[in-house]
Amino acid sequence: MAANTNAAKWDRKRIGTFLMNNAIYLILLALLVAIVIISPDFVSMTNFRNILSQASTRVIIALGISGVLITQGTDLSAGRMVGLTAVISSSMLQAVEYPYRMYPALAKMPLWVPILIVIAVGAIIGLLNGTAVAVFKVPPFIATLGMMIIVYGLTSIYFDRPPYGAQPIGGLDPDFTNFAQGFFFSGKAALPYLVIYAAIVSLLMWVVWNKTRLGKNMYAVGGNPEAAVVSGVNVVKTLLVIYMIAGALYGFAGSLEAARIGSATNNTGNMYELDAIAAAVVGGVSTSGGIGTVPGVITGVLIFQVINYGLNFIGVNPYVQYIVKGLIIVVAVAIDIRKYLKKK
């Protein structure tokens, strides 16, 4: 009899642990079920494809931010860096026949030139973030908050100038828009190029995180900076490179966003960092550092994108959507912290 009660208690405890460890997924699953019940049309190939395309650039951004999160850092400048690089890349890739070009004299350029340029711009800004954090010991929140504002200023200066002033940079070269909007195959099986790019970046980051010394150092620095130091890890260099890689990824994502949307303004990418951080946390990246996987980040982005798209699809008031998204972030972190506290 006593043994029975014990077993029952133990089972209840185990179920409790399971609920705790997966609470965020269960909540989001419930949301998804509610969306499908309200609007069964939600389950369609078109929606699926749209979600994947939208998630693709976000996966790239989230992977950048997650690397930084794993080192116990954060990056608030990600969204504005997407904006800057979107504006720069589209300004260089407006169709030659388009009458309102930012650089009317600019010849048609091969795609890879501007894309490499904005990746480099992102990397440099990331390196500056890393320098502030690693060398000057500015808390990451403050360092990247400052950078977020600086980059917005830079973007606006670049964007809002004669002859056309603050007009969206449109009329993009069809090669460029096709680079992001195109598909492999057609009809039902069409596979957006964007998904391929996200897959390549994910694979690359998986290798960096799991197979290289840099990746191992990243987990070490995030797991316990002091233990990392005594294990001979160069903490400063590790942080610099991780912030730099993050910047490069935002740069690439910025050019993809511009091409996907077909234009760019100084507000492109605004607040993307919050979505990316939220997705990373939902995907199991710990804000206390040292924990996170590439598949987890991808899952987090997908879940978040499904909810986003789903709420739009069933016509939830956009302002209410903000409230829901905000709640998801806080609840996800609260659960993450509780897991951490419990294990201590």
Binding site: K211, T212, A227, V229, V230, S231, G232, K237, I291, K343
Partner: protein, 256 residues
């Protein structure tokens, strides 16, 4: 030939001279100890040797090389590793991974090797893993290799710290109060382990320890710090009989 020579090492924190012109050397294959009352500058001295602090004066020579003012990531690969008074482990990594982090300072594969799964990369990873398992076996933790570090008992965590330090392939191992918080059985085990490190692996050991009984038993040589200054150095017997040490460290009562 001395393995480590510190000459006139000095470290100031504001007006406080934490380590004051300390001369110290340790021979290859020795087990040496630094003792002294709380706040005598022992841990600061360790931090100077391992590059955590930059000295305000003096020089540091290791294995014939000047290493004064070098950073930890340069000092660890040339053969100085340490453990801490308070355990510093990667709590969320497995026991095996904790040791592997220490070993990665010696890996040569870069980004592209890792990306291409080059044969060298695979070979290095495998060799590192075997070495780590061997080290865990050495400190008696092989059976816990896949547990998370935070789930180990206290004594086992200390031994894991030791294994991690050994993963850096040190010639000189610095142990900051290795027996802190251990019971008598664990203390005997750790002393045995320290002796084996020297005898079987030719590792020179320098320790900070409060437990006088342990220090006297295990050390070939002892240096005594008080208020940042070295007041004595010698064999355990010499130090035990030195009146200055007795006064500073053991208290006046012990002298009589």
């Amino acid at each position: 030939m001395p393995l480590l020579v510190a000459e006139k090492m000095t470290k100031r924190f504001g007006g406080l001279v934490a380590v004051n012109e300390v001369d110290f050397s340790i021979e290859k294959g020795e087990i040496a100890s630094i003792i002294g009352p709380n706040g005598a500058g022992k841990t600061t001295f360790f931090n100077l040797i391992t590059g955590v602090y930059k000295p305000d004066g003096g020089t540091l020579t290791f294995d014939g090389r000047d290493i004064t003012g070098r950073a930890p990531d340069q000092i660890v690969p040339i053969g100085i590793a340490r453990t801490f008074q308070n355990i510093r482990l990667f709590q969320n990594l497995t026991v095996l991974e904790n040791v592997l982090v220490g070993m990665h300072v010696h890996l040569r594969t870069g980004l592209f090797g890792g990306m291409l799964w080059s044969p060298r990369h695979k070979r290095e990873e495998l060799a590192a893993k075997q070495k780590a398992v061997e080290l865990l076996d050495y400190v008696g933790l092989k059976h816990t290799a896949n547990d998370l570090a935070k789930n180990l008992a206290y004594g086992a965590q200390r031994r894991l710290e030791l294994a991690r330090a050994l993963g850096c392939e040190p010639k000189l191992l610095l142990l900051d109060e290795p027996k802190a918080g251990m019971n008598p059985k664990e203390t005997a085990e750790i002393m045995e382990l320290i002796r084996r490190l020297r005898d079987e692996r030719a590792i020179t050991v320098l320790l900070i320890e409060h437990d006088m009984k342990m220090v006297m038993q295990i050390s070939d040589r002892i240096a005594v710090l008080d208020y940042g200054t070295k007041i004595a150095q010698g064999t355990p017997d010499e130090v035990r009989r030195n009146p200055a040490v007795i006064e500073a460290y053991l208290g006046r009562g012990a002298a009589s």
